[in-house]
């Protein structure tokens, strides 16, 4: 056999065997590194796949590993497990059920991280930890302050009302604003500043369309997808309802729950044909009419891409997109940020709208929960404490251009426009008392936003379903509430009993007593500050 033939015959198998050998060596080396004896390992999973996020977390991880080694002489390894949004739910669900979930998990996307029934089963309650000071805050202004109180939201978003416990530790805060292409705005409209009034916003949109027609280019005033249309809903629907909310708010918690809504409806205080609703939807239609053609079918990325390509002047999204958008703009164009103006200058709308909704109740985002089955709960807590000192939280968020969630942590200057708006009205109007009304509302609203249904037609549809199903929904809701309060009372009674009976040590009794009091206090605070949020809507506004 000639050499050439031999090479031809054995080359293929040789390459395959060599590849297999190289891969096996690589796998063995990696296994040896991660499974080294005497090294404690903690894994932390999330769906934040942007390189900035992983890099920022890596910095904290490396520092913590070094610090831990210096303090204890032992080695610890913290491994990030970034999973894409598409696979996150399956990964977390199966991991938790199979008992192999990571030690620290980013809450969200999966039912098992969000619903009380799962939370109590799978996650470590943090009540006892968050009322103690964070030791990493020693010799800082937060020294001696309970960990909970070092967060700007006081961990209100972490509190689970049904469980009367805290479960999450957040890392960041998010608000929603409008990004605009300053150069394009100037070129299209001659303006150098963003709109300050609602009228100006509509004027700019009109001028952009005229400019596009004049130049024969494809240019939209605002780029959006379904998801990115929500900021407009929050900005231009809720404020119209504030006067109605104040009239109907029986329990004075600032919001209308389905009970109050139905009672008001039964007394004839409102209907979907009330001017508050009709004008809100009319206003909303005016704004969504400025979005690009076919926005309902667009994906989130399409809208971002459109804005980045300079095919739209404005784009409404959250502070979580800031770094990505600033990076994409680069030197090609300047980006500005503004808050959506309220229609206070409008002859009709100003009768209802007295100001924007407040963002004072914005809750912490990127919430981490600790797996109840972790072998290292104290280490997990310690790592989260390390990450949430003011200095570390500021550093982490600055590197990904997000808003810190710890008091005293400085925000990146380019995020100034995203600072939560404290002044404004609080409240929400939840009329969704039956499944049918929830379904019709969720299904038909897109037709309203796209202009296929007029506000009156939309109101007619809602009225028909509400009229038919609200009474039954009211009774169902009452039954649910009864069960909820029964469970609540049982749970509180159990805590109280434990505090009285547990006489093992004075400390134990005292601790349980404190836990009971804390639980009552948290419950009251929760009710005062958080009740009555639109289910599923606020989440869209405040978390990425």
């Amino acid at each position: 056999m000639t050499l050439r033939k031999a090479i031809g015959k054995y080359m293929g198998p040789a390459v395959l065997v060599a590849t297999m050998l190289a891969a096996s060596v690589q796998v063995l080396l990696v296994h040896a590194r991660y499974e080294a004896p005497g090294v404690e390992t903690i894994s932390i999973c999330h769906w934040q796949l942007e390189s900035g996020f992983r890099d920022a977390l890596d910095v904290l991880i490396e520092e913590y590993e070094e610090l831990y080694h210096a303090r204890t002489g032992k080695r610890i390894k913290i491994i990030q497990v970034p999973i894409g949004e598409r696979g996150y739910r399956q990964f977390v669900n199966t991991g938790l059920i199979g008992g192999m979930a990571p030690d620290i998990i980013e809450q969200g996307k999966a039912k098992t991280t969000e619903e009380d029934g799962y939370i109590v089963r799978f996650y470590l309650p943090l009540g006892q930890y968050i009322n103690e000071p964070n030791p990493y805050n020693d010799q800082t202004p937060h020294e001696g302050v309970p960990w909970k109180d070092t967060f700007v939201d006081g961990l209100s978003g972490s509190y689970h009302r049904g469980l009367r416990e805290y479960y999450q530790i957040p890392f960041s805060l998010f608000t929603v604003r409008v990004y605009y292409n300053r150069d394009l705005l100037e070129r299209a409209t001659g303006r150098t500043t963003p709109p300050k009034t609602y009228g100006e916003l509509l004027d700019i949109c009109r001028e952009v369309r005229e400019y596009a027609a004049r130049e024969g280019i494809a240019l939209a005033p605002i780029a959006a997808s379904k998801q990115q249309a929500y900021p407009f809903v929050t900005a231009y629907e809720d404020p119209f309802l504030f006067p109605l909310i104040r009239r109907l708010d029986l329990d004075l918690n600032g919001s209308i729950d389905p009970f109050e809504a139905y009672q008001g409806y039964a007394q004839g205080a409102w209907s979907f044909h009330s001017p508050e609703f009709l004008t809100a939807w009319q206003c909303l239609q005016e704004v969504t009419g400025q979005l690009q053609d076919g926005w309902l079918a667009a994906q989130r990325d399409d809208a971002v891409f459109m804005f980045a390509q300079g095919r739209a002047v404005m784009h409404a999204t959250g502070s979580w997109d800031a770094k990505g958008l600033f990076d994409q703009a680069g030197n090609r164009f300047r980006i500005g940020v503004f808050d959506l103006p309220m229609p206070g200058d409008h002859p009709i709308y100003s009768r209802f709208v007295k100001g924007p909704a407040t963002e004072a109740n914005t809750r912490g985002g990127i919430p981490w929960v600790i797996n109840l089955r972790t072998r290292h709960p104290e280490l997990c807590i310690d790592f989260l404490r390390f990450c949430t000192t003011a200095a570390n939280n500021a550093r982490f968020n600055r590197s990904i251009t997000w808003i810190p969630v710890v008091r005293g942590a400085a925000m990146a200057p380019e995020l100034a426009a995203f600072k939560p708006r404290i002044r404004g009205f609080y409240g929400s109007f939840n009329y969704r008392i039956s499944s049918a009304i929830r379904l019709i509302g969720a299904g038909e609203k897109w037709q309203l936003y796209s202009g296929d249904l007029s506000p009156r037609e939309y109101a007619d549809k809602l009225m028909e379903v509400y009229e038919r199903t609200a009474a039954e929904g009211y009774l169902d809701e009452m039954a649910q509430q009864r069960m909820h309060y029964r469970d609540l009372q049982r749970s509180l009674a159990a805590l109280q009993a434990a505090a009285c009976v547990d006489a093992l040590t004075q400390d134990a009794a005292e601790r349980k007593g404190l836990q009971f009091l804390q639980s009552l206090q948290d419950q009251a605070l929760y009710t005062a500050s958080n009740a009555g949020r639109f289910p599923g809507k606020s989440e869209t506004n405040t978390t990425p």
């Binding site: 080359m11 690589q26 934040q48 796949l49 390189s51 949004e85 979930a101 990505g324 090609r332």
Partner: protein
């Protein structure tokens, strides 16, 4: 048919082939072009080459997925070996032996062909959990091997049955045991079909996404399809590194095809022209 008409027919055929090839290769070409772009360049000109070329995207891509490639190779090769060895033995038994219940067993086996693999996800997960074998690369290879048995046995049995009976009888006369018959007769004569099955099983294991996502929890044990997801950012996608990674991930498959294409084609066409 005149030569002019024949020429026209040839042009028509070639045009059709070129069109089909264009559809196949343009996505690959676009992937390659984008892999050298920054996000800014991508926003300005998504499909055409732009300068400067960002070679660092390939470095990022390699850094991100090189570990996954090694894992995928080990798991897929193991899966192929674990699939073919028992499949060949089973196929030999079904092809050469008579035993009670053979037909029932065979149809039961064939019945499994109609069962969608994803249906087994939950029972398999529970089983592995009970066996304390979750998060194990070997267990994943075993799952792939189990999943590939039915098809491989089905194909190999038919192939072995088609081999001349005289050969086996001659081997028996010479005192060859069944294992020796497999080693000396079946394997040398079924190289092409074994190669084809190996490639098909390798591809199936290589591309599997849900199974490793669910069964493996440690990131350093993960495989290439799950690893590629890491680059698919939720908010802003990094197109350059993502496409570079996709290109890198395709390279091992391209190499395998380069060296085994002859076997693959031979295996696929085996039995096509029986006389």
């Amino acid at each position: 048919m005149s030569s002019k008409q024949a020429k026209r027919a040839e042009i028509g055929k070639h045009t059709l082939v070129v069109l089909v090839l264009l559809f196949a290769f343009i996505p690959l070409l676009i992937t390659f072009v984008i892999s050298f772009k920054s996000n800014q360049q991508f926003a300005v000109a998504p499909l055409t080459p732009t300068f400067p070329l960002h070679f660092e995207n390939w470095a990022i891509g390699w850094e991100t997925i090189s570990g996954y490639i090694a894992n995928s190779i080990v798991i897929s090769v193991l899966a192929v070996v674990l699939t073919l060895v028992p499949a060949l033995l089973s196929a030999f038994v079904f092809a050469r032996f008579r035993f009670p219940g053979k037909t029932v067993l065979w149809y039961a086996l064939l019945g499994l062909l109609f069962m969608p693999g994803i249906m087994n996800l939950v029972p398999l997960f529970t089983l592995l959990r009970d066996l304390n074998m979750l998060n194990s690369m070997l267990a994943l290879s075993t799952l792939y091997a189990v999943g590939g048995q039915v098809f491989c046995v089905f194909v190999l049995r038919n192939f072995i049955e088609d081999m001349p009976q005289d050969l086996f009888e001659a081997a028996q006369v010479d005192g060859a045991s069944p294992l020796q018959q497999i080693w000396s007769l079946v394997i040398p004569m079924s190289g092409s079909i074994l190669g084809t099955l190996a490639i098909l099983r390798f591809l199936a294991s290589w591309n599997s996404f849900v199974m490793p996502l669910v069964m493996l929890s440690s990131q350093y044990k993960q495989v290439i399809p799950v690893g590629l997801m890491r680059l698919d950012g939720e908010y802003i996608k990094l197109w350059g590194p993502m496409m570079a990674s996709f290109s890198i991930a395709a390279i091992p498959l391209v190499i395998i095809f380069l060296f085994t294409m002859r076997l693959f084609v031979k295996g696929l066409t085996a039995g096509a022209v029986k006389g």
